[in-house]
């Protein structure tokens, strides 16, 4: 992952967020991905999200595995610690990191090879544990760094660059996550920042693991006619199932509603664990984003028709995260002084009477 430092060009007119930082302060090094790569658009959405949320850069932990997608954490928030781990293992690393320090804000960036093949087990179990993190799968249906093999998310019939059709059934991260009991499931398209940014914002307020499957075309190996992960196909088949706004906690709610463009009718809203609100301003008839069964059936039906439903599809704020399950303190385990962790010799000697 060669990195090219980005010249810091702070235009005086750049807006500052609550921390006095501009959007430039949330950027990283220059991307070395192919020109036009969907992943770069996702990076831009992540940058915008952190800036708009005024997240302190040093509190962000950028986690990834191996692959094109896993290179991207170097391209955002230089002031955050990053961990480019091994292929597929990112969810395990985050689980341990989160166990030790729950105060950090974890974003894991992965791909379809990283998460749906070599790391499928880790993804599944991170979902089961409901590790608090934002988990982005940059899904292009293909292995890029090794030059164009099908990944596990390739649709049946989708053609490779050489014209070969995939014949094995795909793993759909959204359906997988729903069936594993995921508590926040979304899908978006790399070319749709307007949809992705509010989803990312909501994801950072989520109580547990927020899974966002982002269809992100590979311009080099999977953007041809016959591919179901190309720009053209994705644009033609994307179907915005839900549209949502993210409303930060307390006083800002009113202002935010005012800014929405009149679509908030009797919108469904879900209050997040930290007090913020997700407002769904457009939902299909009878769709309840908090009803797993209905969401599952709806998606199955639409996907059966060849559509790619996107949006914040499912949300459940009632499930405990890994820390609540383990009854750990509200602050980081790493902040507990040693004196509190070590029982001391007097306790040891007392206890050793059981070994007599």
């Amino acid at each position: 992952m060669p990195s090219i430092a980005k010249p810091i060009a702070q235009h005086p007119s750049l807006k500052k967020n609550n921390l006095g930082l501009t959007v430039r302060d949330y950027e990283g090094t220059m991307s070395t991905l192919c020109a036009g790569c969907g992943h770069d658009s996702i990076t831009a959405a992540i940058v915008r999200t952190f800036w708009e949320l005024s997240t302190p850069p040093h509190m962000i932990a950028k986690m990834s595995g191996i692959g094109c997608s896993s290179k991207t954490p170097t391209y955002f928030v230089s002031g955050a610690h990053g961990f480019n781990s091994a292929h597929g293992r990112m969810p395990a690393i985050v689980t341990g990191a989160n166990a030790a320090n729950r105060e950090l804000i974890y974003i894991g960036v992965s791909g379809d090879g990283d998460s749906l093949s070599i790391g499928l087990g880790h993804l599944s179990h991170a979902i089961r544990r409901n590790v608090r993190m934002v988990y982005v799968i940059e899904n292009n249906g293909v292995y890029g760094l090794t030059k164009g093999q099908f990944s596990a998310s390739a649709d049946i019939g989708s053609k490779s660059k050489r014209g070969e059709a995939n014949r094995m059934s795909p793993i759909d991260p959204v359906m997988l996550a729903l069936s594993l009991g995921a508590t926040f499931v979304a899908r978006s398209f790399s070319g749709d920042k307007e949809q992705l940014v509010p989803i990312l914002k909501a994801a950072f307020s989520h109580r547990g693991l927020a899974l966002i499957d982002v269809v992100s075309p590979c311009v080099t190996f999977n953007d041809h006619v016959g591919s179901t992960k190309s720009y053209l196909y994705s644009r033609q088949h994307q179907y915005k199932a839900t549209e949502s706004d993210f409303v930060p906690p307390a006083s800002e709610i009113v202002a935010h509603i005012g800014s929405a463009n009149g679509h908030i009718s009797e919108a469904t809203s879900v209050t997040m664990h930290d007090g913020s609100v997700v407002k769904f301003r457009a939902l299909p008839d009878g769709y309840d984003p908090t009803d797993r069964q209905k969401v599952f059936s709806y998606l199955q039906e639409r996907q059966g028709k060849g559509e790619v439903p996107t949006g914040l599809l499912y949300l459940d704020e009632s499930v405990s995260d890994v820390h609540e399950l383990n009854n750990t303190p509200d602050s980081a385990l790493t902040s507990i002084p040693f004196e509190k962790l070590c029982p001391g010799n007097a306790e040891l000697q007392k206890m050793l009477e059981d070994f007599r």
Binding site: S85, R89, G96, L104, T328, P329, T334, I336
Partner: protein, 604 residues
């Protein structure tokens, strides 16, 4: 046939061996443990070895108790008394009794006349019959047979009945019915033996005071306790024999010591991972954040962890790994012991990697080495593996009482504080290193100026990605120097010299007791030898010196391929001609006889 020396066995007081042949899952383990603990409380040096199958119910299992007033704790292969409770293995068991020894059997059924021996004594007790009369519940009838033979042994080898009864009181306090049943069965056996046989037998116990400052503990429990005291907060694991009880014990101790008295929250987090790949990943993630984190596993788990051990080595992240070794390769024999993971642990992962290893010999060292492992891992920013084994980990050992030094402060290594980061013109991860080639790290969440990108891909001394040969080599060369520097910090070897020693004997881990006993016996035969037990890897100068000082050294270890000898050949300048192997790797703990035979067969 090479000449052999008979190991010291006798039919005297406090110097004998009993073997109990049982069927697993029938409750024998608790009766056998009861006897062992009673002997311990009588102040007598005693060792118990559980030789059990990888099975839940129905397969043969043995328990060996060795009583040694001189404190020898290795297996004795000559049994003065066999308690033959398993008809499946009777033919084998009857052969193992030494000439003049005794065999206790359940006389409710006739013995196979073909398996008679006229050089041993048979003691028949109608255990099943007695239990069928006194107990109604079918399960209880089976369980209480074990307690009944324990009662008979109390009479036959003079285990103090008062001590056993006290133990039953403690064990079954609040379970009155169980206590009464146990006491009834104990008395049945005791009374029958007293009435029908000349008690005690010529070999038996007598009160001593050798255990006043000792405890009875297994290595896995001691390691878990060590991790609690060392301040470990995150533990990740995947269940695997024989290491599971490490995490069971850790959980138990954490519940006891780590519940915050005010908030009632857990000042620890135990994660049962989906596999060992994840377990080590979790440890690395937690350690990256500055927690003391560990995993416990066995050989098959180490195989899976190889990938991320390389990441932790190369990216310089601490990790503590407890490997309770079992017999490999592959699934091997999960309930048998071996020292077969030395090579895979020393060089775990692809590419050029070398790790720090610690070799505890007993539960006492397990406890001490836990804190040592965390100090080394954090200071050297690298994985540290504690290589225990099934024998150390799962058997109860009589060891000196554990002690914790209250002045201990964890060595967190070179970690920059917020203020230190603030003062730096620029933080560069691997640039400035100390005299041991360790460069300061920063923790996430402290300061954005201290941020860097952890990567397992090629990196230069600043932590940046590189594919440039010189930049790559500069980093891995420093890692090699760092590993070498750690030799001075691993526990020093134990050396025992004898006047007139003609050769050396070097070993590690749980071979300790058997080798020391063998050396005493060899000295009695006019063959004194010097002893060294290595306790860590990389090897220190003392290890090299010992090998240089002797014309040849026997390397005693429990694996087929002489892995310790190989390590010595590769990692010291000593000529391989000076290293001779004694290898015992069938899966049962070592005995002095193995060592003596192995040495004598190679002496010219």
């Amino acid at each position: 046939m090479p000449p052999t020396v008979e190991p010291r066995t006798s039919t005297r007081v406090n110097d004998f061996a009993v073997k109990l042949a049982n069927v697993n899952g029938t409750g024998s383990a608790s009766a056998n443990g009861l006897l062992m603990q009673a002997m311990f409380r009588m102040g007598v040096p005693v060792t118990g070895k559980n030789l059990f199958p990888s099975n839940i119910q129905g397969l043969p299992t043995w328990y060996e108790i060795r009583v040694s007033k001189d404190g020898y704790n290795a297996r004795a292969l000559d049994y003065d008394l066999m308690v033959a409770m398993n008809s499946q293995t009777y033919a084998r068991d009857v052969k193992e009794v030494r000439t003049g020894g005794y065999l206790l059997f359940d006389s409710s059924w006739p013995l196979d006349p073909d398996l008679n021996r006229d050089d041993i004594h048979f003691i028949g007790i109608p255990l099943a019959e007695m239990c069928n009369i006194h107990f109604n519940d079918p399960r209880e009838r089976i369980l209480m047979k074990n307690v009944a033979y324990a009662g008979a042994l109390c009479a036959l080898i003079k285990v103090d009945m008062k001590v056993v009864e006290d133990l039953l009181m403690e064990k079954y306090s609040g379970k009155e019915k169980m206590r009464v049943s146990n006491q009834t069965a104990l008395k049945l056996g005791y009374d029958y033996a007293t009435k029908h046989f000349d008690c005690p037998l010529p070999f038996h116990l007598d009160q001593m005071n050798a255990n006043a400052d000792k405890i009875l503990i297994d290595g896995n429990t001691a390691l878990a306790l060590g991790c609690v005291f060392a301040g470990a907060t995150v533990a990740a694991w995947y269940p695997i024999t024989p290491s599971t009880s490490v995490m069971d014990a850790f959980k138990g101790f954490c519940e006891q010591f780590r519940k915050d008295p005010e908030t009632k929250r857990n000042n620890y987090c135990i994660l049962q991972a989906e596999d060992e790949l994840a377990a080590i990943g979790m440890v690395i993630g937690a350690s990256w954040n500055g927690a003391r984190a560990f995993t416990s596993t066995s050989g098959p788990g180490i195989s899976l962890m190889n990938e991320l051990l390389g990441l932790a080595y190369y990216a310089e992240i601490p990790a503590v790994i407890i490997d309770v070794q079992r017999v490999g390769p592959s699934t091997g024999m999960p309930t048998r012991t071996q020292q077969g993971d030395l090579m895979i642990c020393a060089y775990a992962s692809h590419g050029d990697t070398k790790h720090i290893l610690l070799f505890p010999a007993n539960p006492h060292e397990c406890f001490d080495f836990a804190a040592k492992a965390f100090d080394l891992a954090e200071y050297f920013q690298t994985p540290v593996m504690i290589l225990s084994d099934l024998d150390i980990g799962m058997n109860d050992w009589v060891v000196p009482r554990l002690n914790w030094d209250d002045s201990y402060q964890p060595n967190r290594g070179l970690v920059l504080t917020k203020e230190q980061i603030e003062e730096l013109p620029k933080f560069q991860r691997y640039f400035n290193h100390d005299e041991n080639f360790v460069a300061a790290r920063t923790l996430p969440g402290v300061h954005s100026k201290g941020s860097y990108f952890v990567r397992g891909s090629g990196h230069n001394k600043f932590g940046g990605y590189t594919e440039i040969p010189d930049e790559y080599q500069e980093v891995v060369d420093r890692l090699l120097l760092k590993h070498k520097a750690s030799a001075k910090f691993v526990p020093e070897p134990i050396i025992q010299k004898r006047a007139g020693a003609k050769f050396g004997v070097l070993t590690l881990g749980g071979c300790d007791g058997a080798v020391r006993e063998a050396l005493d016996l060899l000295e009695d035969r006019g063959m004194p030898a010097d002893y060294m037990r290595v306790r860590g890897f990389p090897f220190s100068d003392e290890v090299v010196q010992f090998l240089e000082d002797h014309p040849y050294t026997f390397v005693v270890e429990q694996n087929r391929d002489a892995q310790l000898r190989s390590l010595l050949m590769m990692e010291t300048p000593v000529s391989k001609d000076k290293l001779r192997s004694v290898l015992v790797y069938g899966g049962f703990p070592l005995s002095a006889r193995h060592v003596i035979e192995g040495i004598l067969s190679q002496l010219t």
